[in-house]
């Protein structure tokens, strides 16, 4: 705990340095502050890892400040694991930011960046470490607040404004749900301490679960509540997107796991609910990602997908657990948590490298990129590793967690209820679809961004980014590979023998095959490589216009999933009179409906707006009416006081 405190102190010190120096635009201060953050993150990583391995909970409580107001912290294995996840990502983001902040923006606004980022990271860590729900709520709000300001960083842009409003409202909504859940728990148990509470009635148990599920679900970006995620992730600076997508939404997962596992009494239908929500999020997330051509928004939709996968694991855990299948339950939970770590790593990696690309090209539209693999080879390779991991390809880490989930699914037949089995089989097939679509999506993303010819002029001026912007992601890429290949060993080390293949042997055999193939090909062929123009059926030299576009690439899949996208076609016609003058002209317009926005968010917003207008209109009158209001109220009060009370 002492070292943790030192880490926290370093973070705060780093924030302070920048806050004190707000007036001057001084890059040395920012660098120094970031180095402090890096040091703090290193402490957190080592301490988190140590606590997770030792399995000895750390605890600390402050004295009570006011009625009900007390802070206490406790770091058990679960919390330590999440601290590890947060601090690993934070570490590489901090390294990445050393140059990114200097490169991406200008002015003294940058001085606010480091302190806010530190507060953001610290509040996430503290949320995880909190031992009472009140403190959790506080840090939850701090997470929201700091990330909100960071999202608003480029406030001049129209889209940022929209994203900011959306994000703020959604985070407030999540806080409200959490508040409801925590208040219910408090009122049932009489304390804010997070502990198993056998006194809960069935009704409270269920209600608390629903509230917490919604609250954490909004922050995690589960499907009906996901809309803020693509907006906020795409308009914030890339290192912040990495933090938000990599760890912030995991903090919500932590909350859910913590309460479901340690506080509430899970029921079968919770598992089914979480499973279905997870499956839908995963599937729709990836389907929406396929149609995105904004690189960061695409990645954001993939976050929704991966949160879905994590939830699938969690849902399976509850389902298996309620049938007493503890081995399977544990496998699902391990898969879910492992995927949490993996997603944090590869998604941050992707966001950071995408940030480099956006920084160099000045656009987020992948249709304008292309050919970057030649100008930014290292960034491209790092992105490729991230893409392979997120597509769940062996031997990278994403594969391992998805493999574990598949295996858990395959053993669904141990469940006695046929209905549940059929449900699980359906979810399984959708899950498989998700994972394959993700691969398709990343073939598109990598292919269109990095391969072939540049699609616009700005892209041609791109250069490889500075070292620190490579080291940060490289660290994560290294983990992607390492966690994949040595997954079996890591689990054994933690004392769990998962029923899964040892990828070390697979990698070894791949290595052998690679050596043999290279030797054989070298021996057989004449090592002559000639460069020539791409063949284009005899057409003149193909230029970038003849390349396959991102839209073209995903078109077949979009066609398959037409019912989900709800394309809205507006076709109007021109009618010509006999002199050739138009007397009715029209347009043809196809746009993909944003179904949740148009069917859920906007109607609700409009309803509130119309009530607001009415309430406002009622107050936008003259004195007579105001007195009339008072008059009526007084009469009502007299009647109530006389007759009712």
């Amino acid at each position: 705990m002492f070292l943790f405190a030192i880490g926290v102190g370093l973070c705060l010190l780093s924030a302070l340095i920048c806050v004190v120096n707000t007036r001057r635009d001084n890059s040395i201060t920012r660098k120094a502050a970031l180095w402090l953050t890096i040091a703090a993150c290193l402490i957190f990583v080592s301490e988190g890892a140590r606590t997770a391995l030792n399995n000895q909970p750390l605890q600390y409580s402050f004295s009570q400040i006011a009625p009900q107001l007390q802070f206490s912290f406790s770091i058990d294995r679960l919390a330590a694991f999440f601290i590890l996840v947060i601090s690993i990502v934070a570490l590489s983001v901090a390294i990445y930011s050393l140059r990114y902040i200097e490169a991406s923006t200008s002015g003294i606004r940058r001085n606010l960046f480091v302190p806010l980022m530190n507060v953001f990271i610290l509040s996430m860590l503290c949320f995880v470490a909190s031992a009472n729900s009140f403190a959790q709520l506080l840090f939850w709000e701090l997470i929201s607040l700091s990330s909100f300001i960071l999202v608003m960083y480029h406030y001049e842009k129209e889209e940022t404004r929209k994203a900011g409003i959306f994000y703020f409202i959604m985070t407030q909504m999540s806080t409200i749900f959490l508040m409801l859940g925590f208040i219910l728990l408090y009122n049932a148990t009489g304390s804010f301490t997070i502990a198993s509470s056998p006194v809960l009635t069935a009704g409270t148990n269920t209600l608390v679960f629903i509230f917490l599920f919604c609250g954490f679900g909004i922050k995690a970006g589960i499907i009906p509540f996901h809309k803020w995620l693509p907006y906020a992730h795409s308009s914030s600076p890339s290192n912040i997107s990495a933090l938000m997508s990599g760890v912030m939404i995991k903090v919500a997962i932590y909350g859910l796991v913590r309460y479901v596992l340690f506080v509430l009494d899970p029921q079968l239908w919770w598992g089914i609910l979480i499973l279905i929500a997870g499956t839908i999020s995963a599937l729709l997330g990836v389907i929406y990602a396929l149609k995105e051509h904004d690189i960061k928004r695409l990645l954001a939709y993939h976050s929704i997908e991966n949160i879905g996968i994590i939830l699938i694991g969690l849902g399976l855990y509850i389902i298996f657990d309620s049938y007493g299948l503890s081995d399977l339950a544990f496998l699902s939970l391990a898969a879910s948590l492992f995927h949490t770590l993996n997603h944090a790593i590869f998604k941050s990696l992707l966001f950071l490298t995408a940030g480099s690309v956006v920084e160099e090209t000045g656009t987020r539209d992948i249709e304008k990129m292309g050919g970057l693999v030649k100008t930014m080879p290292i960034t491209a390779s790092l992105f490729l590793i991230g893409a392979l991991s997120i597509s769940a390809l062996p031997p990278f880490n994403g594969f391992v967690s998805e493999l574990m989930i598949f295996q858990a699914f395959f053993q669904a037949f141990a469940i006695p209820s046929h209905y549940v089995i059929v449900l699980l089989v359906v979810c399984l097939s959708l899950f498989a679809l998700t994972s394959a679509l993700a691969a398709a999506c990343f073939v598109k993303a990598f292919g269109v961004i990095f391969l072939a010819m540049p699609r616009s002029d700005t892209v041609q001026q791109a250069h490889e980014v500075p070292k620190s912007m490579l080291i940060g992601p490289a660290l994560l890429a290294f983990l992607c590979v390492g966690l994949g290949i040595f997954s079996f060993q890591i689990f054994s080390w933690l004392g769990y023998q998962p029923p899964m293949p040892n990828l070390l042997w697979v990698s070894l055999s791949l290595f052998i095959f690679l050596g043999l193939t290279v030797i054989l090909v070298r021996a057989a062929s004449g090592h002559v490589t000639r460069r020539a123009e791409t063949w284009a059926c005899g057409m003149p030299t193909p230029d970038s216009h003849s390349e396959y576009t991102a839209a073209g690439f995903s078109e077949p899949i979009l066609t398959f999933f037409k019912p989900i996208y709800k394309t809205d076609k507006v076709i109007e016609r021109n009618f010509w009179d006999k002199y050739g003058a138009v007397f009715k002209s029209g347009r043809a317009d196809i746009h993909v409906m944003k179904i949740f926005e148009e069917k859920l968010y906007i109607p609700v917003a409009n309803a509130i707006r119309s009530i607001s207008r009415k309430v406002s209109a009622a107050q936008n009158v003259d004195l007579d009416t105001f007195i009339l209001y008072s008059f009526i109220t007084v009469i009502i009060l007299i009647i109530v006081a006389g007759w009712v009370l």
């Binding site: 936008n620 003259d622 004195l623 007579d624 009416t625 007195i627 009339l628 008072s630 008059f631 007084v634 009469i635 007299i638 009647i639 006081a641 006389g642 007759w643």
Partner: protein
């Protein structure tokens, strides 16, 4: 314990006070309006006097004198000044309620207040106190009714004065109520009237024509 004649007298006065209230609700001529208000205040002073005779509390006598001085003489005088200065002599506009419906609502109001109070004051010690409170609250409510149903600020001021009368009527039945309070209420009232008069004509009355300003005021009132 009270002289039955006094009780009857007070009841008669109550009836008259309610009558003046009804007249204030309906009256369109400002001049008559102010006169009716003066009469109502006079009736209030009579109530105080009757009670003074019964209880012998000099507070009530002082109150009666004060009422006569301020409400029967000074305030109507001031109101008439305002009326003359502004050149407005009639307030024929009604909002929300026509005079007839206002009277009907007023009657219903009195009944509602009566029945509510009846339930609360079940074991009341003093029948007259109960009646006084009902009439007082009703008068206050009727004053409010005047405020929101009439257009001109002066009329509204009269409505407010009527409310004040209602409250005082209620107050006189509790003899021990410290005199200083009553005094303060009346002082407050005078300040209020001054303020309302000044406000309704604007602060800088030298610059512009008063009539136009007052007409404008009603227009401005829309927002």
């Amino acid at each position: 314990m009270m002289n039955p004649i006094s009780i009857i007298l007070i009841k008669v006065l109550f009836v008259f006070i309610l009558g003046t209230a009804a007249l204030i609700i309906m009256q369109k001529s400002l001049r008559s309006l102010f006169s009716i208000y003066a009469i109502q205040s006079l009736l209030m002073a009579f109530v105080s006097l009757v009670l003074f005779k019964e209880t012998g509390s000099f507070v009530l006598l002082a109150l009666a004198v004060l009422t006569v001085v301020t409400k029967v003489i000074i305030i109507p005088y001031m109101l008439n000044r305002v009326r003359k200065d502004s050149g407005i002599h009639h307030d024929a506009e009604f909002r929300y309620l026509t005079p007839v419906s206002a009277i009907i609502i007023g009657m219903a109001l009195i009944f509602v207040i009566y029945s509510s109070f009846l339930r609360v004051f079940q074991l009341s010690q003093d029948n007259l106190f109960f009646l006084g409170s009902v009439i007082g609250v009703s008068l206050a409510m009727l004053g409010m009714l005047v405020i929101f149903s009439r257009k001109k600020i002066v009329t509204k001021a009269v409505g407010y004065l009527m409310m004040e009368n209602g409250v005082l009527l209620f107050g006189v039945f509790i003899a021990e109520l410290p005199f200083i309070i009553e005094l303060f209420i009346i002082v407050d009232l005078v300040i209020f009237i001054l303020l309302a008069a000044v406000l309704s004509m604007g602060i800088d009355s030298t610059e512009e024509d008063l009539t136009r300003k007052l007409n404008n005021l009603t227009k401005w009132f829309k927002q």
